[in-house]
């Protein structure tokens, strides 16, 4: 039986190290050494491995859960623990290395259902000289119903605040080749909160730090102003299935975020674990597969200034144009000058969040509501390419008074005039 075998090894290795004075790992003690775990709650415990060693660093490549009395491993935790040896001394010293153990409620319940009651969590520490020590934590599973606090009493833990990921307890995704180490969610200007106008284009960026190779599965979720002004209710905006395999750090761009309602939005990225939590506590928001592995940012959508009029009825609209195609727009009463802008996405879209760049345009005085593009503008464009155009109107004091949406167009010199008429 494997646990007996390990127990034997621990005892044997104790004799071994006592006999070998040159060995550099003296001992490993884990705290807590015994743990009682309720299968109706997630397990999340900060353990500390106290490794007494000198000279050489030690490594434990992974931890492993075994069922007591069985040969089979229940779960591997591919999270290496490095223990740095103290420098400048050959006298063995105790180095404390923390590790957070996490097991989902459904994982624990599945083991319980399979008849598992006693578990050992085992780590082997080894140094460059070949000395090794094994240590284990004994875990006993119990089935204790979760107590729900009476409505009038304060909750046993503070209510979760929306999204301060920094407050979330740490967790390791275990048993997979992919180990996530850090998630950072922000907008493309490196901010955690963004103010945008209604209808603006908006994306967020998730920076994922990880080790190994594997599939990141997760959900972009949004709570819009229809619910954020009470209890935020998150809905899935987009599923993510992305292979992480090359740089140990990658950026994932969110889908286009809704900005059609004014008010506060919350954006959340939830990593999907292999199992969802089970529904036992009706107060819990179970929309996130694991709230422990999620992070939130927010944005405010403001109505565009009522002083800025939105322009409609522009031509050309979603069609081709050339040197003979007139650009037309409605007259704006207070305007002193118009900007006709032609924009495009940058050719080298290396950034994760490309923005439309102004390529060229025209300044036109008040009174003009129609113009041809002209050679100066057309010389900046490429036949066949797709662009966007818009009109922005300004007062003499420089205040913007009106603007149109971005309108897609295609430049096809000499081939479209007849068709567009």
């Amino acid at each position: 039986m494997i646990h007996r075998f390990f127990s034997f090894l621990i005892v044997a290795s104790g004799f071994l190290f006592a006999a070998q004075s040159q060995a550099t790992i003296e001992s490993v003690v884990v705290s807590p050494a015994n743990l009682e775990v309720n299968i109706n709650e997630d397990l999340l415990v900060n353990a500390v491995w106290t490794v007494t060693l000198s000279e050489n660093n030690a490594l434990s490549p992974r931890g492993e859960y075994y069922e007591v009395g069985s040969d089979g491993s229940l779960l591997q935790v591919n999270m290496p623990l490095n223990v740095l040896a103290p420098t400048g001394t050959t006298v063995p010293q105790a180095v404390m290395t923390p590790e957070t153990l996490s097991l989902s409620q459904s994982q624990l319940q599945m083991w319980w259902m399979l008849g598992v009651r006693d578990i050992e969590y085992i780590r082997v520490f080894r140094d460059g000289d070949g000395s090794q020590v094994i240590s284990l934590m004994a875990i006993t599973l119990v089935d204790t119903p979760t107590t729900v606090p009476p409505p009038d009493s304060p909750p046993s833990s503070p209510p979760p605040t929306i999204g301060d990921g920094g407050d979330a307890p740490p967790v390791a995704i275990s048993g997979q080749a992919l180990d996530l180490t850090r998630l950072e969610l922000r907008f493309s200007d490196f901010k955690n909160v963004k103010f945008v106008d209604r209808g603006d284009q908006l994306h967020a960026l998730l920076e994922v730090s990880y080790r190994g190779n594997g599939l990141l599965r997760g959900e972009w979720q949004i709570a819009d102003p229809a619910t954020s002004s009470a209890q935020p209710v998150f809905r899935v905006l987009h599923l993510v299935n992305q292979q992480l395999s090359d740089f140990e750090r990658t950026e994932i761009r969110s889908p286009a975020l809704p900005t059609e309602l004014s008010g506060r939005y919350y954006l959340r990225f939830c990593v999907s674990t292999t199992e969802r939590q089970t529904l036992t506590d009706t107060e819990q928001d179970l929309s996130c597969p694991s709230e422990l592995i999620s992070t939130v940012v927010g944005y405010q959508v403001l109505d565009a200034s009522p002083a800025i009029i939105e322009l409609f009825g522009l031509q050309p609209n979603n069609s081709a144009f050339d040197s003979q195609t007139p650009f037309q727009w409605p007259e704006v009463r207070d305007a002193a000058m118009y900007q006709l802008q032609i924009l495009a996405f940058p050719k080298s879209q290396q950034g994760p969040d490309p923005q439309l760049n102004l390529l060229t345009g025209l300044l036109l005085p008040a009174g003009e509501t129609k113009t041809l593009a002209g050679n100066i503008v057309l010389s900046k464009l490429t036949h066949g390419e797709h662009y966007f155009w818009r009109i922005v109107a300004f007062r003499a004091d420089g205040e913007k008074v009106a603007q149109s949406q971005m309108i897609p167009i295609q430049y096809l010199e000499g081939q479209t005039h007849g068709a567009s008429e």
């Binding site: 920094g166 850090r182 190779n213 819009d224 299935n241 140990e248 179970l286």
Partner: protein, 684 residues
């Protein structure tokens, strides 16, 4: 004969000085330019054209004999713009007759403010205990304000973005959050443009030391008029913060940093030939902040204080009119990464980055024209980061890794091809007690946008298509003998294949995406009495399909459905996970700008089989929201607007573990709200 550009003369007479032209938009000044050595008869026969910055300003020109008058370009932002005036002869010849730079400023205050405040009352809900952590009555507000004065020699600016929520259900957990604030001033001096600012400091750089970040603090800057040199110094909080009473200024020693950046062009006439840059940051961090979650052994209670200093030197050299770009960067750090006063002391380490990029700009614009190539780009990059290299401004940079990346990108009018390879390896110091692991990723990507007759009814119906295909293969391995160091073998291959089709037409955009990722593990099992038993993870296959549409069904009506499906299976096993997501978003303006309705429905379903079928889990969530907004009073100018809203949300969760009874909960809430909105000037 083709049109050609000839520089005839460079002369000017205007209403100001002969030095750099300045134009005050606040005074609505016009600019007058005398074209002295241009023959008046030539002017009579030709057409005048002018470019200011990126804009054709020909429509702003008027002429009286040799005097050209340019109407005040009030639609431009203050700044320095190149100005060119051309004569276009009847033959089509274009002659440059004037060229200079123009300083446009506005010596008056421009201000803008947006204020939105909303009070809501939950008028009904499924059960009080469903919402025990939230209150029924709350208020929330958002404020955005900015002001600036852009004088010719002195400029001032201020900006603030703040939000308040009475129940503290915010990202920081505080009622009042300051998302952004900044006040500052700039003054032109004999040595350059001197600047000072207090508030959110954004460092845009992307490199070994800085990875683009935004923190609260102070900064000063000095930039030469020509941009030849630029110096920035900063004194900031190390971690992001949002609360109004949290790290407004860098006062906490354990969470503040200081540093500088300097850029300098060696050659004045050709600044692009050699641009040197350096950066430095020193300080400490608790390494926590809004939007960040650590999945390792850190949390607020036991997070150690990390700290140290990091600097870098970099050189950028561009040749052939920017067609060739060479970059070299070396960074050095002295950093205590395991907690100050804990474990090891500070450790020194280095990082380097080299880049060569050749592309179809400038001198090489037509290099591949015989092959009808419109654009191309070849690059090679090598990055090496030591095991103990850290930077406070780039804390998540992967360490102990060397990455070599090469890429070729070729684009024709309708077709583009990308070929790339990335190789990475660790254990750079060849430490005998660590394994040497290597990874190679090869990828190919094709994109095709056919040129179609717009009159074809089929393509008119489904939209202009664009097709993208990509395939990638990643191999990871390590020496067999290293199994005795780490306790496992590493030998696996991942194949990723994706196809995406997007279609675009007026009032309808839609896309279809399908991807397959196969993971093949050739690693052997390993057993060692001391290292334990290693069982390689099994082969897996993951498929992903996504369909999304955006339809403007009628004027003022848009519908955006989304369908996604993923399937994750383990080879030779019954273990599998399947997820389905369907969403429908409907927006309508029932009365233009007066009554709007927004409806969302989302259904998310996940089915999983574990432990070879011994355990199953089926989860399903349905959720809908309805929002009705009636603009009772329209905001006009400085008069506030009032909007009344009725919002309802409903959600239902179902979860079944094996054949246990289905656990189900559902809840709803109905919220009434009144919002007052006021805006004046421009918000940003």
């Amino acid at each position: 004969m083709k049109a050609k550009v000839v520089l005839l003369s460079l002369m000017l007479l205007s209403n100001t000085s002969l030095a750099l032209q300045g134009l005050d938009l606040a005074q609505a000044e016009n600019l007058e330019v005398a074209l002295i050595n241009v023959d008046e008869s030539q002017l009579e026969q030709s057409t005048l054209r002018a470019i200011l910055g990126q804009y054709d300003i020909s429509a702003l020109l008027s002429r009286e004999k040799n005097l050209v008058r340019i109407q005040s370009p009030s639609a431009l932002e203050p700044g320095r713009y190149p100005l060119q005036i051309f004569l276009v002869e009847p033959s089509g010849n274009q002659i440059l007759v004037y060229e200079d730079k123009l300083d446009i400023y506005r010596a008056s205050w421009q201000k803008g403010i947006h204020l939105r405040t909303k009070a809501t009352q939950r008028i009904d809900e499924s059960a009080k205990e469903d919402f025990s952590h939230t209150v029924d009555l709350l208020s929330e507000s958002a404020l955005q304000s900015q002001a600036r004065f852009s004088g010719r020699n002195t400029a001032f600016h201020s900006a603030i973005q703040a939000q308040h929520r009475s129940d503290s259900q915010t990202q920081s957990g505080k009622k009042l959050e300051l998302a952004h604030f900044k006040v500052g001033a700039n003054k032109k001096t004999a040595v350059g443009n001197l600047g000072f600012s207090l508030g959110n400091q954004t460092i845009q750089r992307q490199g070994l030391v800085f990875n683009g970040f935004d923190r609260r603090g102070l900064s000063t800057s000095l930039e030469s008029e020509s941009g030849r040199y630029q110096l920035n110094t900063f004194y900031i909080n190390s971690d992001p913060a949002l609360a109004v009473d949290e790290q407004l200024l860098p006062t906490d020693k354990q969470q503040r940093s200081y540093g500088s950046t300097l850029d300098f062009s060696v050659f004045k006439e050709h600044p692009e030939r050699l641009r040197l840059s350096s950066g430095f940051i020193k300080g400490q961090t608790k390494n926590l902040g809004t939007g960040i979650i650590y999945l390792a052994d850190l949390n607020e209670d036991n997070a150690p204080t990390l700290g140290g200093s990091t600097w870098h030197l970099a050189a950028d050299s561009r040749w052939l009119e920017n067609a060739l770009h060479l970059h070299a960067q070396k960074a050095h750090s002295q950093f205590d990464s395991d907690g100050i006063g804990v474990g090891e002391d500070k450790q020194k380490d280095e990082a380097t980055r080299f880049l060569v990029n050749v592309n179809s700009q400038g001198s090489l614009k037509d290099a591949l024209a015989p092959l009808k190539v419109k654009q191309w780009n070849v690059s090679w990059q090598s990055q090496h980061v030591g095991e103990h290299y850290y930077s406070l401004a780039n804390i998540s940079l992967p360490r102990d890794v060397r990455i070599d990346q090469s890429m070729l990108n070729v684009g024709w009018t309708r077709f583009s091809l990308l070929l790339g390879q990335t190789r990475s390896s660790n254990n750079l110091d060849a430490q005998p007690d660590q394994a040497k692991q290597e990874s190679t990723k090869s990828q190919v990507q094709l994109q095709y946008t056919p040129l179609l007759q717009q009159s074809n009814p089929f393509w008119r119906a489904i939209g202009q298509p664009s097709l993208s295909l990509s395939a990638a293969k990643t191999n990871r391995n390590q020496r067999d003998s290293d199994v005795n160091l780490v306790g496992y073998h590493l030998d696996d291959t991942t194949h990723e294949n994706h196809i995406t089709a997007t279609f675009q037409r007026q009032k309808l955009n839609w896309s279809l995406q399908h991807g397959v990722v196969r993971f093949e593990n050739a690693a052997a099992a390993f057993s060692d009495p001391l290292l334990g038993v290693f069982t390689p993870s099994p082969d897996t296959e993951n498929r992903f399909t996504s369909l999304s549409l955006h339809v403007q069904a009628m004027k003022n009506w848009t519908i955006s459905p989304v369908l996604q499906w993923t399937d994750y299976g383990v080879k030779d096993s019954r273990n599998a996970q399947e997820a389905f997501n369907a969403g429908l978003n409907l927006s309508a303006q029932l009365l233009k700008n007066r009554l709007g309705v927004h409806l969302n429905y989302n259904m998310n379903k996940q089915d999983a089989v574990y432990a070879e079928g011994l355990a199953t889990q089926n989860y399903q969530r349905r959720q809908s929201t309805l929002s009705l907004n009636w603009q009772a009073k329209e905001a006009k100018g400085q008069k506030p607007g009032v909007t009344l809203s009725l919002n309802g949300s409903w959600s239902e969760n179902e979860n079944q573990f094996n054949s246990d009874p289905l656990v189900k909960n559902d809840n709803y809430q109905i919220v009434l709200g009144v919002e007052v909105f006021w805006a004046d000037g421009e918000g940003q």
